[in-house]
């Protein structure tokens, strides 16, 4: 599990016809005057169509960097990211993004409706279709009555629903989310988690979630990719056999849930302990 030089971790890459996204020996380093700072080591994993995959790891490991590389916002320094078999060199049309900071990712000068419609208008979707897709997306997240409001008139949880609606209306193949529920209160987080699970079932979306919240990763995912080390590498990859329907109370009471949670947590702890040791020593 720890000796992962070169080869992919068992279960991380699954060669399949139905692979939507693949990270193939992805590495990334920042260059500065002092030299190169490697952030991502040699990361390989695949995501199958319809799968819900979470990337977890201790804070500061480079999860957000990896997400930016995966979504085409940054180019890897080695290796490549493929979406539908094609190399990603810029943010692809098949991908939608939901970020943690909803207050900055939504445009305060546009109404909810126009926020959701903007990417579609930019993609030259026909006017009537923009309207129907926007309305359907807002309806799906429970904000049908708020389309004329502005983001700052809504609570944090509702703003994040707008960001999810924007992604939904875009009709992506892969929904990529970076700590999407980290800035809302616990109850709202549960509601949003269940919303994402429902939307994913209804629309058959593939979801890639980056989170530091292990409970969230286990509760939502089909598979969890654990990142550890410096530079970050895939330390483990585990299936979450909890079925497609999950419940905040019943699922979390399952012994399998507790076992998975414990395993991921101890791996992350070991990883961050190793990092601290290195810093001290």
């Amino acid at each position: 599990m720890t000796s992962i030089k070169g080869d992919a971790v068992a279960g991380a890459t699954r060669p399949s016809l139905d692979t939507v996204m693949a990270a193939d020996h992805v590495a990334f380093s920042y260059s500065s005057a002092a030299g190169a700072h490697p952030v991502l080591g040699d990361i390989s994993f695949t995501i199958a169509r319809g799968e819900f995959v979470s990337l977890v790891g201790p804070s500061g490991i480079g999860k957000t960097t990896l997400l930016r590389v995966l979504s085409g916002l940054m180019q890897p320094t080695a290796g490549e990211v493929r979406l539908d078999g094609e190399r990603v060199t810029e943010p692809p049309r098949q991908l939608a993004l939901v970020l943690q900071d909803y207050s900055r990712s939504l445009l305060p000068w546009m109404s909810i409706e126009r926020n959701v419609a903007l990417p579609l208008r930019s993609a030259k979707v026909a006017r009537t279709e923009v309207r129907s897709r926007t309305a359907a997306a807002l309806d799906a997240v429970g904000l049908a009555g708020d389309s004329e409001k502005y983001p700052w008139q809504l609570s944090g949880g509702m703003q994040q629903r707008v960001a999810i609606a924007r992604a939904l209306a875009y009709q992506p193949e892969v929904l990529v989310m970076d700590e999407p529920f980290a800035s809302v209160d616990a109850q709202t987080r549960f509601d949003l988690e269940d919303l994402v699970l429902r939307l994913r079932r209804e629309f058959g979306m593939t979801v890639l979630l980056v989170t530091h919240d292990i409970d969230e990763a286990v509760y939502l995912s089909d598979r969890i990719v654990v990142l550890a080390g410096k530079p970050a590498q895939v330390a483990d990859c585990l299936d979450v056999p909890l079925g497609p329907i999950r419940d905040q109370i019943a699922t979390k009471a399952l012994p399998e849930y507790a076992a998975l949670r414990g395993r991921v947590l101890s791996e992350i702890r070991a990883a961050s302990a190793a990092r601290t040791d290195k810093k001290v020593g």
Binding site: R68, S71, G72, L73, E90, P91, R93, L95, A96, L97, L99, D101, R104, S105, L107, P108, W109, M110, L118, P119, R121, S122, A123, Y150, W152, Q153, R166, Y170
Partner: protein, 274 residues
């Protein structure tokens, strides 16, 4: 940067809705009180008659001067050079500032120089521009540009630099680019900064226009005030000062109204919700 944002918020934070109207009465009361005190101080001789004029005198002179062509020619001269100068400030300052704010390295390296230039009182430029242009409209326009371009340039730079990661990443991820990025993302981010910069530039430009007219006797309202003073027409001088004050107030009001209309979404303008 944080200081500027603070200042920007500080300048613009105002109470919304009903607050505005109920503030009007005490404000007017203060104006009446100040005018009455002035009159009292002049009448009792606390302010010397060699320099101060009673309200009735000023009002009378104001009533006379408003109907003279000379006043409106002077006002026209002042406003023309001011407006032309301001237009040049916008045309030069906005793109140049945007260019400087776009790259982080450039932004950081030019900041110190710009803060220095901005901190230098622009009136020190008067002797310099006078040498080049003489006491003319061109001199005033050049002075307004040299002195007034900085606030709008610096605000434009700050505004573009304020385009931060999350917003840009979101726009890129959703492939919003070109003219749509400019109109839907870039401009609305920069506009609050530009309007603040334009307002400061406008007020500064007016000051430089009228001030330079006083010092160099270039044609305009400033020169009219100076002439009234040197010919010992004190009431007339005060009347012209009132005219200049009203122009300044109008300029500020116009900008406030524009900001309120254009930036209804901005934290400084929108009603307090909590």
């Amino acid at each position: 940067m944080s200081v500027t944002v603070q200042a920007l918020r500080g300048v613009r934070t105002r109470t919304a809705g009903a607050g505005r109207c109920s503030n009007l009465a005490p404000q007017l009361a203060l104006v009446v009180l100040l005018l009455a005190s002035w009159d009292l101080l002049v009448r009792t001789g606390v302010l010397p008659a060699s320099g101060a004029v009673r309200l009735s005198g000023i009002a009378g002179a104001l009533g006379d001067v408003v109907f003279t062509a000379a006043l409106w020619t002077a006002v026209g001269d002042s406003l023309t050079s001011w407006l032309v100068g301001l237009a040049v400030c916008v045309l030069v300052g906005v793109p140049l500032g945007a260019l400087l704010g776009w790259r982080d390295g450039v932004y950081r390296s030019v900041r110190l120089v710009l803060e220095f230039v901005r901190a230098t009182p622009p009136v020190v430029l008067i002797p310099f521009v006078l040498l080049f242009f003489g006491p003319s409209q061109e001199m005033k326009i050049f002075l307004v540009v040299l002195g007034g371009v900085w606030p709008i340039l610096i605000q434009s730079m700050y505004g573009v630099h304020d385009l931060e990661g999350t917003l840009v990443h979101t726009a890129r991820a959703y492939r919003i680019r070109g003219p749509r990025f400019f109109a839907s993302v870039l401009m609305p981010t920069v506009l609050p900064y530009l309007l603040t910069g334009a307002r400061v530039s406008a007020v500064l430009g007016l000051l430089l226009t009228i001030g330079s007219e006083m010092v160099t006797s270039a044609p305009g309202l400033g020169r009219a005030i100076f002439d009234a003073q040197t010919s010992n027409d004190l009431a007339g001088m005060y009347a012209l000062v009132v005219v200049a004050g009203v122009i300044g107030l109008l300029v500020n009001t116009v900008f406030t109204v524009i900001e309120r209309k254009v930036l209804s979404w901005h934290p400084s303008q929108r009603p307090v919700t909590s």
